[in-house]
Symmetry: none
Subunit: 245 residues, 2 copies
DNA sequence: CAGTGGTCTAGACCACGGT
DNA sequence: CCGTGGTCTAGACCACTGG
């Protein structure tokens, strides 16, 4: 008699150390959203029993997952998933008073040939068509961020068809529910440019005023780039903070 | 009967966990150059015996020291103090695009009362004196970054005494070899401002031109802030990359 | 109070490297 | 071959959290 959980280890390479195989399975379960942010994982004792390993080995796995930032452990309370929150990370770029979600107004949505950097990011043939969203983000009714978002097709067909009014202000939850795509990591490049006439008009600034430009390539857990995004905001309202570990 | 090694733990805070106290003592011995690069540390069994702790606790201490980059462990061979090899960490904290090592010219070095944000970062009393370096970083013979670096005293006394010409373009290796401080993590804050007259002159730009300001607080592995750095560069030549995982 | 994670023990056995 | 570090076990006890 082996538990269903322990049997899942059969999917992993038996030549690897046991703690590696258990961690691999645990990471998979975390990625599969087996626990939400408010539900603690089973206790380390229960997990050790379900994997049919000793408590010491289970603790090693959990300690590594915590070191990787995948989970948070609190003595006397429990172990919880810690999902990367990219929406929140974008807010780090701009000085915003509180924790409110900014509004979003989609200015246009069209299917078009991929611009060169987009095609390169998605590893597509030149002139492949992609979905292009252009939107304005608002903070307390005031525009503060202009975004161009490109998404590969046919993967993102569901977003090409839904009414734009039905899309929430945060896109990544929409990717997850409508497309089944979970963003796992991203790279961002920041630079400073001058506002074009259009940008100045939409951001309520002056033409030629410094603007911050952020290029984000968002990837699935498997590492495939599935979103290419350019964001522009007035440099005067710019503030960014990052941790380097 | 207690061994001399185990008795050394009496110098550490008995309220701390045993593994922390053992690690503290081990780090001290590593700093005191008790073993050179060609001499292995005693085996984990021998160390555990000398500290009169279990092998499991000793292994935990050694694993942490290895994770901190203080030692290297090789199965079947032994445990050694880490060779001086900064190649891996060189670019971890240099995030302005490009892969070349920039040049460095130190403009001034003085001991002065800590400005308020510096004192706050180091958790010092107001008016405590700190070491202040002012330097210009060059890329392909052209100035591109102006830096103010504050370091706590007396910890960084060695850097206050060495000839500034002897300091390399990269400071963190100097911290490691001259001060025994290893940088383990950092936070950075970016914003956009306008060039002062001095900044414009040193950076070969125009007064009032947009400049990017980066405030970095660098920490040891233990989490103590040991460097406060403000960097300024012309926004027009600015590029910043970050990975979000 | 019960249940959680944190610390610590005292081993056994395995994989690897150099002699 | 021997000694090294790497893996894994099967617990005990403590410290902390929440109801």
């Amino acid at each position: 008699m082996t538990s269903e959980t322990a049997a899942a280890l059969a999917q992993t390479d038996p030549r690897l150390p046991l703690h590696s195989r258990v961690k691999e399975d645990l990471v998979r379960r975390l990625r599969d959203n087996e626990w939400d942010a408010s539900t603690p994982l089973p206790s380390e004792r229960a997990l050790a029993d379900s994997y049919e390993i000793s408590i010491g080995t289970m603790r090693r796995v959990l300690a590594e997952a915590a070191a990787d930032g995948l989970i948070e452990r609190h003595q006397g309370h429990g172990t919880f998933v810690r999902r990367a929150d990219f929406q929140h990370s974008l807010f780090r770029f701009f000085r915003l008073g509180g924790d409110d979600v900014p509004g979003s107004r989609i200015l246009s949505r069209q299917i078009e040939p991929a611009p060169a950097p987009v095609a390169a990011a998605f590893d597509l043939e030149p002139d492949s068509v992609v979905l292009h969203l252009h939107r304005l983000r608002l903070w307390q009714e005031r525009p503060f961020l202009l975004e161009d978002i490109w998404l590969p097709l046919p993967l993102f067909d569901p977003l090409a068809k839904v009414e734009t009014e039905q899309l929430g202000a945060l896109l990544y939850p929409e990717y997850e529910t409508r497309v089944g795509v979970v963003i796992g990591s991203a790279s961002e490049e920041l630079s400073v440019s001058r506002a074009t006439q259009d940008q100045a008009r939409l951001l309520a600034g002056d033409q030629g005023e410094p603007v911050v430009r952020i290029v984000r390539r968002a990837r699935t857990h498997a590492g495939d780039v599935v979103e290419y995004r350019e964001s522009y905001g007035l440099a005067s309202s710019f503030s960014y903070r990052v941790e380097i570990n």
